[in-house]
């Protein structure tokens, strides 16, 4: 699905189904340097089970035109515009990593539009290592290598993908390399600069779930647990044997957890 926002064409994956205006809406937000393909194992799954799925590529990512947004706040406002442009009044928002920060900020700034929130592989803040940001600015392929390598748990590192024949590592690198040059650095700086995680978490009154990966070396579990504790009434789910790229590493387990959230939100 293509939607025009601020004179830019935005690509929104609907999981291969024509969106049903009456169906509950799920908004999936990808992480730094990623695209809608982060939701390979969620978009089609939920779209074929009665939900209306929106998994956009943020501006300047994947199949969307435009330039990358530079702050988490701007991304949250952009999501609000996207939801309105698609004609929806309320969505359950699910964010992975940077997308999780955007989801929290969306809930803080526009609470009336958020029915529930799912946060995957996230902490209250993502204080990106300055060396990684420098690498993304000066030697992007090296930054892709570092992020993809450290972003996966044991199975991902050994190319043991749930989809037969697929490689996490090289798929991850190609997705990142498919974005315009410089995109990753803009995203990482936006993450590093975002300091309102605690305020955003405390403001969430909607049903919420934090899903963490046992082997996440980018947003370690301990930090994710602090996030869950900061959100009133949030449910915490920990999935073992997976790294930061949890949605593709353990798609089935993530989907099971999200379903429990969606039952709560009525989504």
């Amino acid at each position: 699905m293509q939607i025009s926002i601020n004179d830019a064409d935005v690509f929104v994956s609907t999981g291969g189904r024509t969106p049903d205006k009456d169906a509950p809406v799920l908004l999936f937000l990808h992480g730094s340097g990623q695209t809608h393909l982060s939701w390979l194992l969620q978009a089609r799954f939920f779209a074929n089970r009665g939900w209306s799925v929106m998994a956009p590529d943020f501006p300047g990512h994947g199949l969307s035109s435009g330039v990358p947004l530079t702050t988490i706040e701007a991304m949250a406002d952009w999501c609000h515009t996207l939801i309105k442009a698609a004609g929806h009044k309320k969505v359950t928002v699910i964010g992975h990593s940077q997308g999780g920060l955007v989801a929290m900020e969306l809930a803080r700034r526009h609470p009336e539009i958020v029915a529930g929130i799912g946060l995957i592989a996230l902490a209250l803040a993502i204080p990106v290592n300055p060396q990684l940001i420098g690498m993304a600015e000066d030697n992007e392929p090296a930054a892709f290598d570092a992020m993809v390598t450290w972003g996966h748990g044991h199975d991902g590192a050994f190319h043991d993908h749930p989809m037969p024949g697929n490689s996490h590592i090289f798929m991850g690198k190609r997705i990142m390399a498919g974005n315009p040059e410089g995109t990753l650095a803009v995203d990482l700086k936006a993450c590093a600069a975002y300091a309102d995680g605690e305020k955003a978490a405390a403001s969430i009154t909607q049903p919420a779930m934090v899903i963490l990966a046992g082997d996440d070396s980018m947003t370690p579990c301990k930090q994710g647990q602090a996030l869950a504790a900061a959100i009133p009434h949030a449910k915490l789910v920990k999935i073992e044997h997976a790294g930061h790229m949890l949605p593709v590493e353990r798609g089935d387990d993530v989907n099971k957890a999200l379903r429990r959230l969606f039952e709560q939100t009525g989504a």
Binding site: G15, L37, L40, L41, R44, L63, D160, R174, G178, N255
Partner: protein, 435 residues
């Protein structure tokens, strides 16, 4: 521990995690046709490409899946699909991109089976091919038409042993919006990874060096995930709604893995050249030692080439490692560890002498294969390439006296002794007939 692994480590481990229930360290053979579904929803999800897993072995299988993941890892591709043979890998790759009225630009210097498939089989279904010299990049550019869907060639031509400059060919093809499909059987990912040089799809006959034992047929298609299928309207099989799976747009929903998904979702569903799980297991045993075997193949090849070059009974020797080979520089740049273990030569005395040599070897095996652990010899003009036209033979660099040698892993002194003896017998027989 580092999470980034070297070639030999991936060859032993990639694609497989011992299962919790049995803990089998070696990859188990899942010799089954089908798989239990958890419930009807699980079955529907598998049928609709929503979740990972297996539903029927024609489409995918856990043992074959390990092989696919391992080959994707070794070639640095986003996804791989393993099939019954190398030829079926070539066919399914063509099927994934072409329809009636489409066109292919292909190397004129390829394995006879590839030439025949394009010239005689695909043409019957309206897919035509222009064959060009793979070292003539201007000719490749000139041959590309608006309906061209791929540039196809071999890194090391069989049996001419010309070497394609993959980066240069990719530059020409990509400028025209066309992907490069490479049959990399003769080099294996140990000697060269074509995707790193700009190729987009890599094909192997796994039957050859990758298996290495000569006991199991197999093929694989590796998707580099490095081609923008949406850059033009040339690739509707990937960018338009699929005829099945509720009209999924593979480029939008699977991105870099769109090509591999088309191969599996059409080639394996509608044609079904399925690799047997047992053969996948055998090939995996070969991959575990691919790196060390290739080192030995290269060492033996270097010594045999030097031996033949100095032999009085040998009329000529051809291998890309030789400084006077027309592709020597390209070969050394692309394959610094070695330019493969196929060597060609002619015995003084012409075709009769070459045939007499083949009939006189005792250690080497006279058969139609390459890449076996054992040394193999054949006369392509009367066997592997006998079904192609005289013009195509000439274009493929095939001379009447050409002997193709696939250098094996035996002790090199034994190979040299066998060849020395056979060369002498061949010359004796030829001179006797000539007198």
């Amino acid at each position: 521990m580092s999470k980034s692994f070297g070639f030999n480590t991936l060859g032993l481990h990639a694609g497989y995690t011992p299962d919790d229930r049995h803990g089998s360290r070696a990859v188990p053979i899942h010799q089954t046709t089908s798989y239990m579904f958890n419930d009807t929803e699980h079955a529907a999800a598998l049928y609709n490409l929503e979740v990972g897993g297996h539903l029927y072995t024609r489409i995918s299988n856990p043992t074959i899946g390990v092989l696919e993941n391992r080959m994707a890892a070794l070639e640095e591709g986003v996804a791989a699909v393993a099939v019954a043979t190398g030829m079926s890998a070539v066919f399914l790759s063509i099927l994934a991109l072409t329809s009636q009225g489409d066109h292919i630009v292909a190397s004129s210097q390829m394995y006879g089976g590839n030439i025949n498939l394009l010239e005689h089989t695909m043409s019957r279904f309206g897919v035509t091919t222009s064959f060009v010299d793979p070292t003539d990049h201007d000719a490749i550019a000139a041959a590309i038409k608006p309906n061209t869907k791929m540039v196809f060639g071999e890194v090391i031509g069989n049996p001419g042993l010309d070497v394609m400059d993959v980066a240069a060919v990719a530059k020409v093809a990509h400028a025209a919006g066309v992907p490069v499909v490479i049959d990399a059987t003769l080099n294996t990912p140990y000697l060269m990874k074509p995707l790193k040089h700009g190729a987009n799809i890599v094909i192997h006959s796994l039957t050859k060096w990758i298996g290495g034992h000569g006991i199991a047929m197999g093929g694989v298609i590796v998707d580099g995930g490095n081609f923008d299928w949406g850059q033009n309207d040339r690739f509707p099989t990937l960018t338009q709604p699929h005829f099945a799976f509720q009209g999924v747009n593979l480029w939008e929903e699977f991105g870099p893995a769109a090509f591999a998904m088309r191969v599996r979702s059409e080639g394996m569903y509608n044609i079904g050249p399925t690799l047997s799980p047992t053969n996948a297991f055998h090939i995996l045993q070969g991959i575990e030692t691919l790196g060390m075997r290739m080192d030995r193949h290269m060492a033996n090849t270097a010594e045999l080439v030097a031996f033949l070059k100095d032999h009085d009974g040998v009329a000529w020797v051809n291998h890309p490692s030789l400084p006077d080979h027309s592709c020597h520089d390209v070969a050394m740049r692309q394959m610094p560890k070695g330019a493969g273990s196929i060597v060609t030569m002619g015995i003084k005395g012409g075709r009769m002498a070459s045939q007499a040599f083949i009939e006189s070897v005792e250690l080497a095996s006279h058969l139609a294969n390459v890449g076996d652990a054992r040394t193999l010899v054949i006369h392509p003009g009367s066997t592997t390439h006998s079904h192609i036209s005289a013009d195509a033979m000439k274009a493929a660099g095939l001379t009447d006296d050409l002997i193709r040698i696939s250098v094996g892993l035996e002790d090199i002194n034994d190979i040299k002794a066998d060849f020395n003896r056979a060369i002498k017998i061949a010359q004796k027989k030829t001179s006797a007939k000539g007198s």
